[in-house]
Amino acid sequence: MNNQTLLLRARALRVGYSSTVVAGPLDVDLFEGRLICLLGPNGSGKSTLLRTLAGLQPPLGGKLEIDGATAARLSPPELARKISLVLTDPVRNSNLTAKALVSLGRYPYSGWLGTLGEADLTVIEWAMKAAGVSSFQQRKLITLSDGESQKVMLARALAQDTPLMMLDEPTAHLDLPSRIQLMQLLHQLVRRTRKGILVSTHELDLALQVADEIWLLRDKGGFDRGAPEDLVLTGVFGEAFYKEGIRFDTSSGTFHIDQEQGPRVRLIARGAPAAAAAFWTKRALGRYGFTVVEGKETTEETVHSITVTPGAGGEIRAEAGEIAGAGSMCWTWEYPGVSRSFPNIAGLLDAMGQNFPAAMPK
């Protein structure tokens, strides 16, 4: 990593408003070709930190260097050639076309009347292509969906042609496919353009997937940074988002609703094909408060056990007179003296509910 250019360097940086320090002191470095996700619960100061790093508001203390120069010494036009932004501010102009908006990205380079040269037009075209918005050049902003207009805003930032790019919660208000698409786009851009990109976001699972590094702001000014996987394994990640009744499961990388410890059930998957079915079975049992013990090896004593077997689904389904089922799987529930088989999870849950009325919804 040492041969990469350091784009942003902050030391003992404190951010906030007038006399209230929201976060810091914190030390961060941002290298080229890295996608960094800035995470943190609401009110932890994500936006304030991002705005400060972007030069929209002055730091309350500490040192901030952008591309080797002290940030406070950079004039607005100089800064505009180093950092481009995608903000949460709505752009509500009814007459602006997608292309006109992207063209505004050339503002720091254009003449005093805003006239664009050949080189500018090339950059604009490239930016629209890279963000995947070439097809709606002449469309008015109001006719675009939230996902589309966010990509146009990204294209505008790309047209600004800066080594650093910062995005403040770009996935808010987007539907799930658009969120994934946007994060994927950023991930590719970092690889292709060697830009350093900082994204503040609430998309924890997406961030864990695409980020090269995570900056984690915690309540009361705590700060951690590192590779996403390291933060998960050291427990820092789960701790930062800990809330009453919610638990971060390091084995699956997802958040779970905490349940009271219910009846213990052993879950056995027969062979690799049953792994997915076992995973979803565990989730279903977890929802109803069962404590699932996995695998045969465990020495723990359990009265009940559920075995997921691939391939046997067809027979049982025919036997039970059912057609609907979850693939060709068979769920077998055993406890001393009894063994019952089911073609799907719904059937299993139904039967178990009759034996454990306390665990199941009425």
Binding site: L56, D89, N95, A100, Y107, I142, Q160
Partner: protein, 347 residues
């Protein structure tokens, strides 16, 4: 829209404008043959000295005043709509003309019995500058107040109401002043508030032209800034715009335009708010490089039309210009509010 079509529309408007200008100076309570009108415009002498006088001292100055007022009010309205990112902004609705009125009232009413609008006009250049300076100062004060308040209000209609309130407060201040002034002064002031394009001539016209041209020039040179401000202040700053400097420049230009026009023509309403919308829909663009000349042309055209309606050919009476601009402009404002995509776009 392609640049070619925009240029074509600008040229077509310019041609239409020349035609309307000609019509405007050709019509009035006195019947002057069209041939003689043209001769005067081409600065050739005509035999009838009364017609010559009417043309040179009344009709042509009035038409030029209409051109200047139309340009200035529309462009100041456009700048305010961009600065506040509010389609309902305009010099009259946000109380800027009221501020200019306060400045004018200060000169007229505080001057005591000697200084009336008439005597100010008689003072020539010095007096003209005095009124302009007072009006621009009044406009700038209110504009800065509105800018300060606008930072705290996100809703456009609420901002409109606040602007109207500020205007009302300003006008109340003037009313208090009027109450304690002599009836002659009050009458003089009231006549001025009806708005009139006539009565600006000679050296005043020169001062007026200079002030409006300065305002327009500043505004045209700031068209790049205005484009950036379309995205809001934070984005504009991230693109290298110094927000404070931009705001000062726009405030200067707007106060100069709205102030000087109000000083000479009275508080003319609705042109400033309506014309930018017409320009946007006609040129189908958001680029101020096109919109500013577009506003100038449409504003001028509308102002000349209003003037022609006000002095309906054959009629001996001249209606106050404010009545006509309100009749034409207010429906445009209602249209903007009612527009189907209004909620989605602006709220």
């Amino acid at each position: 829209m392609r640049p070619g079509r925009q240029t074509f529309r600008l040229a077509a408007l310019l041609l239409l404008l020349l035609l309307i200008f000609l019509l405007d100076v050709a019509t009035g309570s006195a019947r002057i043959p069209f041939k003689d009108v043209c001769r005067v415009l081409l600065s050739m002498r005509i035999d009838n000295s009364t017609w010559q006088y009417i043309m040179v001292n009344i009709r042509i100055p009035k038409a030029i005043t209409a051109v200047l007022a139309g340009c200035g009010l529309s462009v100041s309205g456009l700048q305010m709509q961009t600065l506040f990112r509010n389609p309902l902004a305009g010099p009259d609705v946000l109380g800027i003309t009221a501020g200019a009125s306060l400045g004018v009232a200060a000169v007229m009413l505080a001057g005591g019995s000697i200084v009336t609008m008439y005597t100010i006009k008689e003072l020539g250049i010095a007096g003209s500058w005095l009124v302009i300076a007072a009006a621009c100062l009044g406009a700038a004060c209110i504009l800065m107040l509105v800018v300060a308040i606008a930072g705290r209000i996100k809703d456009n209609v609420v901002m409109l109401i606040v602007g109207v309130m500020i205007g009302t407060i300003t006008l109340s201040l003037i009313s208090i002043w009027q109450y304690f002034s002599s009836s002659d002064l009050v009458k003089d002031y009231l006549l001025w508030t009806f708005g009139s394009l006539g009565g600006v001539s000679g050296s005043q016209l020169l001062v007026f032209t200079l002030a409006v041209f300065a305002g327009l020039l500043i505004s045209f040179f700031s068209s790049k800034m205005l484009d950036a401000l379309l995205l809001g202040e934070n984005y504009a700053r991230s693109m290298g715009l110094s927000a404070r400097r931009a705001r000062i420049i726009i405030i200067c230009s707007t106060s100069l335009l709205a102030g000087s026009i109000t000083a000479f023509c009275g508080p003319i309403g609705f042109i400033g708010i309506a014309v930018p919308h017409l320009a946007r829909s006609l040129f189908n663009t958001s680029s101020h490089r096109i919109l500013i000349p577009g506003c100038c042309l449409i504003g001028t055209l509308l102002m000349l039309l209003c003037d022609m309606i006000a002095q309906w050919p054959g009629s001996q009476n001249v209606l106050p210009i404010n009545i006509i601009t309100a009749l034409i402009g207010a429906p445009v404002v209602i249209g903007v509010i009612l527009r189907r995509n209004y909620r989605r776009v602006y709220s």
